[in-house]
C-alpha cells in the first residue's frame, strides 16, 4: 500500500511538467486567487459563495456516479489537481473532496471501503468531533476549549450569509453534518487553524482538503506560515507533503520571489537531515525543481525574456505582460513557441547589444574569471547573454545578486581588521553597482521594487568577532510588479552634474548606450532642477552661516567686512577663538564619533530621514519620485533559522496584543533565511545598541534620555519614557516566554523614540550560551532601565508591571497560535533551541494556563522582583516557589 502511494507521489512530481502546457492552455490562468479573492482579510463571503456554486456540481460530477469512492480515488483526484494548479479547479477540488466526505458520511456506514487504504477512511462523526478539540486538549487548558467552540459556532448564528449557506448545506445533507466540516467551512477557519490541522490531523482526506483550502487564503496570510508549511513538507509524511505541494507549486509559478523564498527555506530546513537522505528528500527535489526554473508560468514563459533584459525595457510590451491574463495562446503548443520566441528575442538582444557596450563586454569578463574570485555579480548583467544561451533566466539575476552579497561576506571574513573589511566592502559594492539596475530586489522589503544602486560608501561592517555581517543601504525604485515592470535604465553616476564648459545643450545626457534605449521609465530629468547639485563653494557657504545658531563673530565679521568696505580694523580676542573651538567640539554630541573599531555606531546613529535625504541628494536616481532607500544586514556564516522562528513568534504576539488591545510595543524585524548558514536581516532604523549609547555618551541611560529628549517634565521625555516602558514590557515578556538568553547591552537597541528593541535571538527556548549555564532571571531588567522608568515606586513602573500582566493574559488566551509556530518547526530540526525533549512542554508551562489572573499578577511581580534582584543577589527563585502552588 505504502509503495503504491510512493509511486504515485513520484509520478506526481513529474507529471506536472508534462501536463501543464495542455491543461494550462485550456484553463485560463487569469483567474488567479489574487484576482478572484476578495480583498477583505476575512474571506468569509467568498466561502459562502463557494458552496452555493458547488451544490449543483455533484449532480453532474463523477462524484455520485462512483458508488463508493475509495480514498485512493480521492487522492487520485488530488494528484490530478496538482497538474492543473488553477484556483478554479482547486476550488472545485475542495468541493469535491467535501462532497466525497459528505457522501462517505451519507452512505459510508453501509458500504465497504474498497481500497481500505486510509487509516480511517470514514469520517465518522465521533472521530471528527474529537479532531478539533485534539490540539486544544493537548494544550491542557480547560479555559480555552469552550471559548473556541463557542467561537466556531458563533458565525452561524451571527452572520446572515453563513447562516444561509449553513442552512443550504444542512438542507442538502441535513442530519449528518460533521463538526469538522462545519468548522472548515466556517469563516473563522483561518490559516492558523489550517496549519494546525495539517500538522495534527492524521487524516489524508483532511490534509488533502486543507491543502486545497490553502488556495483560498490570502497570500500574505499563508506566507506567514511558509516556514511551517515547508518544514512539514520536508519532514512529515507523504500525505502532508502531497497536500502542500500543489499549493507551493502554484505559488512558485506565480511569483519569482515566492519561488526563491521556497527554495531557500527548503534548502535551509533540509540541512538538518542526514546527507544521504537529504539528497533524495522531497525538499531537495522540490528545491531543484524550483531552481531549474521549470515552474515558470506557461503562458508567460514565452514572453518573459524580453521583459527581463534590463536594457530593453520595451515599454509597449509590458501591458501585455502585466497581470496574469496571458492565457490567450491556447491553440499553439506552448513549448515550441517558447523555443522560437526566445530565439527571436535573442536576436533582438543581439542587435541591441551592438549598442549596449556594457552588456556586450561583461560576459567576457565574467567568463574569464572564477566566480568566487572577483564576484559572481557579473552575471547579474548577463541576462542578455543568458537569453542567447537559453539557460534559465527567471531566477538567475536575483540568485546571483544574493550570491554576490554572500560572496562579499565570505571574503570579508578573511580580513583581519574592521578597517580593512570596511574598505573592502566599499570597493566590492562599488563593483556590484556596475551591474545595477537589474531585476533584483531586497526580499526583506514590503513593496515591489528594483534595486538601482548601492550607495557603497555608506555601507558598514557590523560588530562581530569572526564573522563579517555588514549593513548596506540600497536604493530602489518602487514599481508595480518587479516581475513585469521594466527595469530602470541605468543612469551613470556622473549624471547628476552639468558640464562646466558647455551649458544647456540639449540631448547631452544620452550616451551611446543609452541612446538605444527608450527613456520611458525615466522622466526627462534634464529639466529637473533638483537633479543638479550645488556646485559652488560660495553657494554652499550661505546656508551654513544662516543655520549657524551660535554667535560666531569671526563668521559674521568676514561677511560684514567684505560688504562694509570700511577700513576700520576689527579686533577679536584669541581667547574667544579658542573658547569657541572647544565649545563647538563639546557641542556636537548628537553624532557619534568615528571609531574605526566600531564603524557601525556612527552610521546607525544618523537619523534615518537625514540619511535618506543625504543619500538621495547624492544619487543619480534621487530625482525619480519612486526612489526609496532600503537597508539590509547581510549575514554570512550565521544560521538565521532561529531568528526566523523568534521573529514569527514576535509577529504573532504582536498581532495578539493588538487584537487584545494591550498597548505593548514590540518590533519584529524581517528575517530572510537563505541557507542554514546565511541570510539577511532587515535592520531597525534609527536605533543604536545600548552598548553603543553608553560607550559613546559615557553617561547613564537616564541621562542619555534626558539629553536626547529633554528634561523630566517635557512632553518629549514623557513620550520617550512611555515608549520605553511599553517596549520594555513587551520584550520582558518575550524574553521570558521564549527564554531569550545572552541579553547583553549589545543585543538591545534603543531607538530614537525611546523604544528598546531586542535583537539577536541566537539563544532561545532550550539553548543558552555555553559556559554561562543559564541566566537566572526571567528577563533582563537593570536598575538603569528602572531609573528610566522613573524608579521602583513610580507610576510608570507600575504601568510596566500592569502591561506585563495584560500582555501575559492576552498571550495566554492565544497560546495555541504561538505554540503551533514553534512546535511545527521542531519537526526534524537540529536547532539548539529544540535541544532536549521538553522544549514545547516547558514553553507551554510558561503560559501558566492554570493560574488565575491574581496568581498571574503575583507571578509578574515575582519575576520583576527576581530580575531586579538578580543584579545584586544571586539566584532568586520565587517563580519556582510560586509555580509549586504556594502563594
Amino acid at each position: 500500500m505504502g509503495d503504491v502511494e510512493l509511486e504515485q507521489s513520484v509520478a506526481q512530481t513529474e507529471e506536472p511538467q508534462q501536463h501543464t502546457p495542455s491543461t494550462a492552455s485550456s484553463v485560463s490562468i487569469s483567474s488567479s486567487p489574487s484576482h478572484s479573492l476578495p480583498s477583505s482579510p476575512s474571506s468569509g463571503p467568498y466561502h459562502h459563495h463557494q458552496p452555493t456554486s458547488s451544490t449543483p456540481s455533484p449532480t453532474h460530477s463523477d462524484g455520485p456516479a462512483i458508488p463508493s469512492p475509495s480514498l485512493g480515488v480521492i487522492s487520485e483526484g488530488v494528484t490530478e489537481l496538482t497538474l492543473v494548479i488553477d484556483p478554479e479547479v482547486a476550488k472545485k477540488a475542495c468541493q469535491e473532496v467535501l462532497q466525497k466526505v459528505k457522501l462517505l458520511k451519507g452512505e459510508g456506514e453501509g458500504s465497504g471501503f474498497e481500497g481500505g487504504c486510509g487509516p480511517d477512511p470514514t469520517l465518522a462523526n465521533g472521530t471528527v468531533h474529537n479532531k478539533p478539540t485534539d490540539p486544544v486538549s493537548v494544550g491542557g487548558g480547560g479555559i480555552i476549549k469552550p471559548q473556541k467552540i463557542h467561537e466556531e459556532e458563533d458565525p452561524e448564528s451571527l452572520t446572515p450569509g453563513s447562516v444561509k449557506s449553513a442552512r443550504r448545506r444542512q438542507r442538502h445533507n441535513p442530519s449528518k453534518q460533521s463538526w469538522l466540516l462545519r468548522l472548515f467551512e466556517s469563516k473563522l477557519f483561518d490559516v492558523s487553524m489550517a496549519i494546525s490541522y495539517l500538522h495534527n490531523s492524521k487524516e489524508p482526506g483532511v490534509q488533502a482538503y486543507i491543502g486545497n483550502r490553502l488556495f483560498s487564503f490570502r497570500h500574505e496570510e499563508v506566507d506567514f506560515y511558509l516556514p511551517q508549511l515547508l518544514n512539514m513538507y520536508i519532514h512529515m509524511d507523504e500525505d502532508v507533503g502531497d497536500a502542500i505541494k500543489p499549493y507551493v507549486v502554484h505559488r512558485c509559478r506565480q511569483s519569482i520571489s515566492f519561488s526563491l523564498q521556497c527554495a531557500w527555506l527548503l534548502g535551509a530546513y533540509s540541512s538538518d537531515m542526514h546527507i544521504s537522505t537529504q539528497r533524495h528528500s522531497r525538499g531537495t527535489k522540490l528545491r531543484k525543481l524550483i531552481f531549474s526554473d521549470e515552474l515558470k508560468p506557461a503562458g508567460l514563459r514565452a514572453r518573459r525574456p524580453p521583459a527581463l533584459t534590463p536594457f530593453c525595457p520595451l515599454p509597449n510590451a509590458t501591458p501585455a505582460l502585466h497581470g496574469h491574463g496571458v492565457g490567450g495562446e491556447h491553440g499553439l503548443s506552448p513549448t515550441k513557441r517558447t523555443h522560437q520566441r526566445s530565439k527571436s528575442d535573442a536576436t533582438v538582444s543581439i542587435s541591441l547589444s551592438s549598442n549596449l557596450k556594457r552588456t556586450a563586454s561583461n560576459p567576457k569578463v565574467e567568463s574569464s574569471q572564477d566566480e568566487d574570485l572577483s564576484s559572481s555579480s557579473e552575471s547579474l548583467e548577463c541576462e542578455n547573454h543568458d537569453c542567447k544561451t537559453g539557460t534559465p533566466v527567471r531566477l538567475t539575476p536575483q540568485r546571483d545578486f544574493i550570491k554576490s552579497l554572500m560572496g562579499i561576506g565570505k571574503r570579508l571574513a578573511t580580513l583581519p581588521t574592521k578597517e580593512q573589511k570596511t574598505q573592502r566592502l566599499i570597493s566590492e559594492l562599488s563593483l556590484l553597482n556596475h551591474k545595477l539596475p537589474a531585476r533584483v530586489w531586497l526580499p526583506t522589503s514590503a513593496f515591489d521594487h528594483h534595486v538601482v544602486r548601492v550607495p557603497h560608501t555608506q555601507a558598514v561592517v557590523l560588530n562581530s568577532k569572526d564573522k563579517a555581517p555588514y549593513l548596506i543601504y540600497v536604493e530602489v525604485l518602487e514599481c508595480e510588479d518587479f516581475e513585469t515592470s521594466s527595469v530602470p535604465v541605468r543612469i551613470s553616476e556622473t549624471r547628476i552634474r552639468s558640464t562646466r564648459s558647455v551649458e544647456n545643450l540639449p540631448d547631452c545626457g544620452i550616451t551611446a548606450d543609452q541612446r538605444a534605449v527608450s527613456f520611458s521609465t525615466v522622466p526627462n530629468y534634464d529639466d529637473d532642477n533638483e537633479a543638479w547639485s550645488v556646485d559652488d563653494i560660495g553657494e554652499l557657504q550661505l546656508p551654513e552661516i544662516h543655520t549657524n545658531s551660535c554667535d560666531n563673530i569671526s563668521q559674521f565679521s568676514v561677511d560684514s567686512i567684505t560688504s562694509l568696505d570700511s577700513k576700520e580694523p576689527i579686533f577679536i580676542a584669541a581667547g574667544d577663538i579658542r573658547r569657541r573651538l572647544s565649545e563647538q567640539l563639546a557641542h556636537t554630541p548628537t553624532t557619534f564619533r568615528r571609531d574605526p573599531e566600531d564603524p557601525s555606531a556612527m552610521a546607525l546613529k544618523e537619523p534615518w530621514q537625514e540619511k535618506v535625504q543625504r543619500i538621495r541628494e547624492g544619487s543619480p536616481y534621487g530625482h525619480i519620485p519612486t526612489w526609496r532607500l532600503l537597508s539590509v544586514i547581510v549575514k554570512c556564516g550565521d544560521d538565521l533559522r532561529q531568528e526566523l522562528l523568534a521573529s514569527q513568534v514576535l509577529q504573532q504576539l504582536q498581532v495578539i496584543w493588538e487584537q487584545e488591545r494591550v498597548p505593548i510595543w514590540i518590533k519584529p524585524y524581517k528575517i530572510l533565511v537563505i541557507s542554514s548558514d546565511s541570510g539577511m536581516i532587515e535592520p531597525i532604523v534609527n536605533a543604536v545598541s545600548i552598548h553603543q549609547v553608553k560607550k559613546q555618551s559615557q553617561m547613564p541611560l537616564l541621562d542619555y534620555f534626558l539629553q536626547e529628549h529633554g528634561t523630566h517634565t517635557t512632553e518629549a521625555f514623557l513620550t520617550a519614557q512611555r515608549n520605553f516602558v511599553q517596549s520594555c514590557a513587551g520584550y520582558c515578556l518575550i524574553c521570558y516566554l521564549l527564554q531569550v538568553k545572552d541579553r547583553h547591552n549589545g543585543n538591545i537597541l534603543l531607538d530614537a523614540d525611546g523604544h528598546i528593541i531586542h535583537i539577536d535571538f541566537g539563544f532561545i527556548l532550550s539553548s543558552s550560551p555555553r559556559n554561562l549555564g543559564f541566566e537566572t532571571s526571567a528577563f533582563k531588567l537593570t536598575s538603569e532601565f528602572v531609573d528610566v522608568m522613573g524608579g521602583l515606586d513610580g507610576d510608570m513602573f507600575n504601568y510596566y508591571k500592569m502591561l506585563m500582566l495584560q500582555g501575559l493574559i492576552a498571550a495566554r488566551k492565544h497560546m495555541d497560535k504561538v505554540i503551533q509556530i514553534v512546535e511545527i518547526m521542531q519537526q526534524g530540526s537540529q536547532l539548539p533551541c529544540f535541544h532536549g525533549s521538553s522544549t514545547i512542554r516547558s514553553l507551554k508551562e510558561r503560559f501558566h494556563m492554570s493560574l488565575t489572573e491574581e496568581q498571574l499578577q503575583v507571578l509578574v511581580e515575582q519575576m520583576v522582583d527576581g530580575s531586579m534582584r538578580s543584579i545584586t543577589t544571586k539566584l532568586y527563585d520565587g517563580f519556582q516557589y510560586l509555580t509549586n502552588g504556594i502563594m
Binding site: 578597517e419 573592502r424 570597493s427 564648459s501 558647455v502 579686533f571 573651538l581
Partner: protein, 689 residues
C-alpha cells in the same frame, strides 16, 4: 623635376644594386604621378591595394614633388585618396590594411611637403576643395564602421594609428585644417566605444585616450567652433568609467615601471640615500624617459577630463577594485586570506612579485589614489623639462580637484578611508620608511601629505616657484573648503605648519638668488595667509582645542623665522622698487603672527624665569599659551578665505599649447605604422580570406 628624377634615380640605383627589379608597387606609385593610371589598366586600383605598401617611397615621392608637379598630379593624388577611401569599405581585409597605410603615407607626405603652406592647399592636394567634405565624410564613416565593427583588433589599431597620424601631422594641432572635417564627422563615438569595451580598452586604450586628449586641444580657445564644443561635450559626458579605467591602467603601468627602475637602482648597490637620490636623476634611461613623456599625454587627457567635465570628478572617486583583472587575470588576489590589505610597504611587494607590481591596495584603489601616487613619483624629480611639465600638470589637476566642491566632498568623506602609500624622496635628514603603516584616512589627508612632501623636498637653488605657488594654493583651497563646511579633519597639521615655516626660512636665506627670478613675496604672502587662516578661523575646522594651542606653540617656537621675514619685507617695502608693493602686503599680513609672538614670548620667558627653568618643555609652553589667550587681541583680516579660481585662459594657455605641441611631436615620432608589421596582419587575414 630634376630633383625628383635624382631622387628616383637614387632609389633606383640603390635598389638596382641589390635587387634587379623595382618593386611592382613602386612602379605603380610612379605611374600615379605621371598620368591617369586607370587609363591603361582599368583594374589598376584594385591591383594597387593588393600590393604591400611601401610607405617610405610614397612619402618621399610626395615630399619631393615641387609646386608645379604637384598641381599636375593633383588629380591623380586626389584619385588615389578617393580610391583609398573607397577601398576601406571593401571586405577584403588586406586591401583595407593597405588602403589605411597608403592614407597615412598620403597625409604625412603631403604635410611634409607643405610644411609652410597653408592647410587649404593640403586639402586641395589630397582631395580637391570641392570634394573634400564628401571624401572626409566617407573616410570618417569607414573608420567609424571599422572601429565599431567586429573586425580584427589589429585593424582597429591601425585605424587609430591613422587617426593619430592625421591629428599629429602638424606641429601645432590647431593649424591642422583637416581636423575640421574630423570634427564635423564625429569619430568620437567610435573611439569612446573602443574605450568602453573592456577588452578593446586594454589593447587600444592608450591610443584612444591620447587621440581624444589631442582632439580636445584642437582650437580649444576658439570658443565659437562648434565642433570643438561638441567634442568637449561628448568627451565630458562619456569619459566615464571606461576612460578612467584606461587612465588607471596606464598610470599604474608607468607607476610600476618607475617602481622597477627604483628597485633596480637599489639593488644595483646605491644604498646610500644620497647617491640614490642623485642616481634617480641621472639614471633616467631611454625607456623611462619615454614612459614619462608618453604619460604627459595621459596626464593631459586626465586634465582635460577633470577640467572640462565636472562629472569626471565622480569617476575619479569611484573605486575600481577590478582594474587588475584585465592586466593580471591569473593572480587570485582577493582569495588569499594571509595577505592583509595594504600592510606591506610598496618596496617589498615589488621585490616579491614581478607579476603584480602594484601594492595590494590596488583592490580598493581608485583613479584618484593612483593619480596621487603617480604624482608623488613625478614630483620627486623636476629636473628636466618634461618632468617639470608633468609635475606642473599634476598640480594643475590637483588645483582643479581642490576647487571642485563635489570632489572636496569626496576627499573629505569620513566614510571613505584609504591607505595611500605616497612615495617619499629619500633624504639625508629623515628616515626612509619611518611610516610604513599609513593609517587609512580620508583622501584629503593624502593630498595634504603630498603637498607637504612637495614643500619639504623642493627647496633648491633652481627653485620651482610656479609649482610652489600651485602647491600652496591647493592647500589653501582645501582649507577654505574645510572652513566653509566646518569639517574638522583629523590631520596632523603640525607637519604642514613646520613645512611652511621651513619654506619661509628657505625663501629668506636665499632671498637674493630667488629675487632675481621670482616674486617671492607672493609666495610668502600665501604662506603667511595660510597661518592667518589657522589663527583666525581655527575654531571652524581644527579637530581639537589642543591643535590650536599647538599652532601657537609652533609659531612661538619658530618666531625667529617670522621675525626675520618681517625685517626683510619691511626693509624691501621701505625701499622704492618693484617689490615695494608686494612686500608691504606681506608686512600687513604678518600682523597677527607678530602679535602672537610678541604676546607670548615675554610670558614664556617670565614663566621660565619664575620657575627657574632654562629650557621649557613643550607641555610647559602649551600651558603658558593656554593661560594667556585672553589678553591677546588679534586683528581680523579680510579675504583670507577667498581665492582666484583656476582658469586655463589666459594664464595657462601657453603652457598647454607647448605641451600639446610636444605631445604631438612625440606621438608623431612614435606612431609607427611599420611596427605593426604587415606580417602579423597578413598572417591574420590570410586565414580569414
Amino acid at each position: 623635376m630634376s630633383q625628383v628624377e635624382k631622387k628616383a634615380g637614387l632609389l633606383r640605383r640603390t635598389s638596382s644594386s641589390k635587387k634587379p627589379l623595382k618593386e611592382k608597387v613602386v612602379l605603380m606609385y610612379d605611374e600615379i604621378f605621371k598620368e591617369d593610371p586607370a587609363k591603361n589598366n582599368p583594374r589598376f586600383w584594385d591591383e594597387l591595394f593588393l600590393m604591400k605598401v611601401n610607405l617610405e617611397y610614397l612619402e618621399t615621392k610626395l615630399e619631393c614633388l615641387d609646386g608645379d608637379e604637384l598641381m599636375k598630379t593633383k588629380d591623380n593624388v586626389n584619385s588615389l585618396f578617393h580610391h583609398c577611401v573607397q577601398t576601406l569599405a571593401e571586405e577584403h581585409q588586406i586591401k583595407v590594411v593597405n588602403a589605411l597605410q597608403t592614407l597615412c603615407a598620403l597625409f604625412r607626405g603631403v604635410h611634409q611637403k607643405n610644411k609652410s603652406a597653408s592647410g587649404f592647399d593640403i586639402i586641395n592636394m589630397l582631395m580637391g576643395f570641392d570634394k573634400a567634405e564628401h571624401r572626409m565624410k566617407d573616410l570618417m564613416e569607414s573608420l567609424d564602421s571599422l572601429l565599431c565593427g567586429e573586425g580584427s583588433e589589429s585593424l582597429k589599431a591601425l585605424c587609430l594609428k591613422l587617426l593619430l597620424c592625421l591629428v599629429t601631422v602638424t606641429d601645432n594641432i590647431s593649424q591642422n585644417t583637416i581636423l575640421e572635417y574630423v570634427m564635423i564627422n564625429s569619430i568620437f563615438e567610435a573611439v569612446l566605444q573602443i574605450l568602453s569595451d573592456v577588452s578593446s580598452r586594454g589593447r587600444h586604450g592608450y591610443d584612444a585616450v591620447v587621440l581624444l586628449a589631442l582632439l580636445v586641444n584642437y582650437r580649444k580657445y576658439e570658443a565659437s567652433l562648434s565642433a570643438s564644443l561638441s567634442l568637449s561635450l561628448s568627451l565630458s559626458l562619456s569619459l566615464s568609467l571606461s576612460l578612467s579605467l584606461s587612465f588607471s591602467l596606464s598610470l599604474s603601468l608607468s607607476l610600476s615601471l618607475q617602481y622597477k627602475d627604483k628597485e633596480e637602482e637599489n639593488q644595483g648597490g646605491f644604498f646610500s640615500t644620497l647617491t640614490s637620490m642623485v642616481g634617480s636623476m641621472f639614471i633616467a634611461d631611454a625607456e623611462e624617459k619615454l614612459s614619462v613623456q608618453t604619460n604627459e599625454a595621459i596626464l593631459l587627457a586626465l586634465y582635460e577630463a577633470v577640467h572640462l567635465n565636472r562629472n569626471f570628478i565622480t569617476v575619479l572617486a569611484q573605486s575600481h577594485p577590478e582594474i587588475d583583472i584585465p592586466t593580471t587575470p591569473t593572480t587570485p588576489v582577493p582569495t588569499t586570506p594571509t595577505t592583509p590589505l595594504g600592510t606591506t610597504p610598496p618596496s617589498t611587494d615589488v621585490m616579491n612579485s614581478s607579476e603584480l607590481p602594484l601594492d595590494p591596495n590596488l583592490q580598493t584603489s581608485n583613479l584618484l589614489i593612483t593619480f596621487l601616487k603617480y604624482s608623488s613619483i613625478v614630483m620627486q624629480d623636476t629636473k628636466d623639462e618634461h618632468r617639470l611639465n608633468s609635475a606642473r600638470l599634476c598640480l594643475i589637476i590637483l588645483t582643479c580637484i581642490a576647487e571642485d566642491q563635489y570632489a572636496d566632498a569626496f576627499l573629505h568623506d569620513d566614510n571613505m578611508n584609504f591607505r595611500v602609500n605616497l612615495h617619499r624622496m629619500p633624504m639625508r635628514h629623515r628616515k626612509k620608511a619611518a611610516e610604513k603603516n599609513v593609517p587609512s584616512r580620508p583622501l584629503v589627508c593624502a593630498v595634504l601629505d603630498l603637498m607637504v612632501e612637495f614643500v619639504v623636498t623642493h627647496m633648491m637653488k633652481d627653485f620651482p616657484m610656479d609649482l610652489y605657488m600651485r602647491c600652496v594654493q591647493v592647500i589653501h583651497k582645501l582649507i577654505c573648503y574645510q572652513k566653509k563646511c566646518r569639517i574638522r579633519l583629523h590631520y596632523t597639521w603640525r607637519e604642514l605648519w613646520s613645512a611652511l615655516i621651513n619654506l619661509l626660512k628657505f625663501l629668506l636665506s636665499n632671498e637674493t638668488v630667488l629675487l632675481a627670478k621670482h616674486n617671492i613675496f607672493h609666495l610668502a604672502l600665501l604662506v603667511v595667509n595660510l597661518f592667518n587662516m589657522f589663527i583666525t578661523y581655527g575654531d571652524t575646522f581644527l579637530p581639537t582645542s589642543n591643535s590650536y594651542d599647538e599652532l601657537y606653540y609652533e609659531i612661538v617656537r619658530m618666531h625667529q623665522v617670522f621675525d626675520n621675514l618681517y625685517c626683510m619685507v619691511l626693509r624691501v617695502s621701505t625701499n622704492a622698487g618693484q617689490w615695494k608693493e608686494p612686500a608691504s602686503k606681506v608686512t600687513h599680513s604678518l600682523v597677527n603672527v607678530r602679535a602672537i609672538i610678541n604676546h607670548f614670548n615675554p610670558k614664556i620667558e617670565s614663566y621660565a624665569a619664575v620657575n627657574h627653568i632654562s629650557q621649557l618643555s613643550e607641555d610647559q609652553v602649551l600651558e603658558v599659551v593656554r593661560s594667556n589667550y585672553d589678553t591677546l587681541t588679534l586683528k581680523l583680516q579680510d579675504g583670507l578665505d577667498q581665492y582666484e579660481r583656476y582658469s586655463e585662459q589666459p594664464k595657462e594657455a601657453a603652457f598647454f599649447k607647448d605641451l600639446v605641441r610636444s605631445i604631438s611631436l612625440n606621438v608623431r615620432k612614435n606612431v609607427s605604422l611599420n611596427t605593426l608589421s604587415q606580417d602579423i596582419l597578413l598572417k591574420e587575414f590570410s586565414t580569414i580570406s
